[in-house]
Amino acid sequence: MSEIQFGYKVCKILNRGAILKPGVVARLEAARELATSKQRVAEPHTAQLLVKSAQGFGPRGTPVFLWPRLVLPVVFIIAAFLVIQSWRQVKLAEEIEEIDAAVLTGDLPIDAYTDTGFDAWLKRSLP
């Protein structure tokens, strides 16, 4: 028999109006008083914890459950941004290398790309 089942059995006998010795009645009264006083203390604590947990706060008032929800997405966004930035830098460096190699080896001399007059000439002759 479990403790709870035993408790219910005692409760049932007492409700039926069992005749008990005065010493037993006094001990039962003291036990009841002790149990109810402990329950008064425990109840608000448990309720407080439940409310805090529901709000995303830990037992010490720190937003333990709130942290991952707010901070993690921000951290991931920053990390993703950094990864994209570095990827873009690598791509840009590759593109610069590609263009420089083409300018160095192509049919047109470097002056053709630096002379703004040639640019204007092309605009006139290649509309």
């Binding site: 333990v64 459950f65 942290w67 991952p68 993690l72 951290v75 991931f76 920053i78 990390a79 950094l82 990864v83 930035q85 570095s86 990827w87 830098q89 690598v90 840009l92 460096a93 610069i96 290398e97 263009i99 420089d100 190699a101 083409a102 300018v103 160095l104 080896t105 192509g106 049919d107 047109l108 001399p109 470097i110 053709a112 790309y113 630096t114 002379d115 703004t116 007059g117 040639f118 640019d119 204007a120 000439w121 092309l122 002759s125 290649l126």
Partner: protein
């Protein structure tokens, strides 16, 4: 539980961020004496200024040196002749030249093929006429800048550095 989870995630993210910043930051590039004989031979026009170049520039030139053996002899000869002049250009001018290259690359194939001929014709013009064309281009650019401010597309992007 939550703390352990947070610690794992923080570790993963910091590793990721460290990796990203490492990838973005140019690694230290070799000095002239550390280059292979092959690299030194290909990049010989740049030997005097090599050690003063920043890591990005060195990395780019090493990339070009890697392509060099696969180039046709005419292209190799052009590259060797032009390396010094290209490296000596101010970064802004080099960037503007790249922009012009990009623009010319977009021309239809027929027009692109005639570019060498156009360059020859342009060079046959008297210097005064070429100067006039330069002035006109400069005026046009200034007007365009005034109309399209803030910055026009020909301005070098800030993140291209001194490549």
């Amino acid at each position: 539980m939550a703390k352990a989870f947070l610690a794992i995630v923080a570790f993963a993210v910091s590793t990721l961020m460290a990796g990203a910043s490492l990838a973005a930051a140019p690694k230290k590039q070799p000095s002239w004496n550390d280059l292979s004989t092959e690299q030194q031979r290909t990049l010989s026009p740049l030997s005097s200024g090599w050690d003063e170049m920043d890591a990005n520039q060195k990395k780019k030139w090493l990339g070009i040196a890697k392509r060099y053996p696969k180039m046709k002899p005419a292209a190799q000869s052009n590259a060797t002749k032009r390396m010094q002049d290209w490296a000596a250009l101010p970064p802004a001018e080099r960037q503007a030249a790249r922009e012009r290259y990009r623009k010319l690359e977009k021309l239809p194939p027929g027009k692109k093929q005639s570019l060498s001929q156009e360059w020859e014709q342009y060079n046959q013009l008297p210097e005064s006429e070429r100067e006039l064309l330069r002035e006109r281009a400069s005026k046009k650019r200034n007007t365009s800048r005034a109309v399209h401010s803030p910055p026009d597309s020909s301005a070098p992007p800030s993140n291209t550095g001194s490549n």
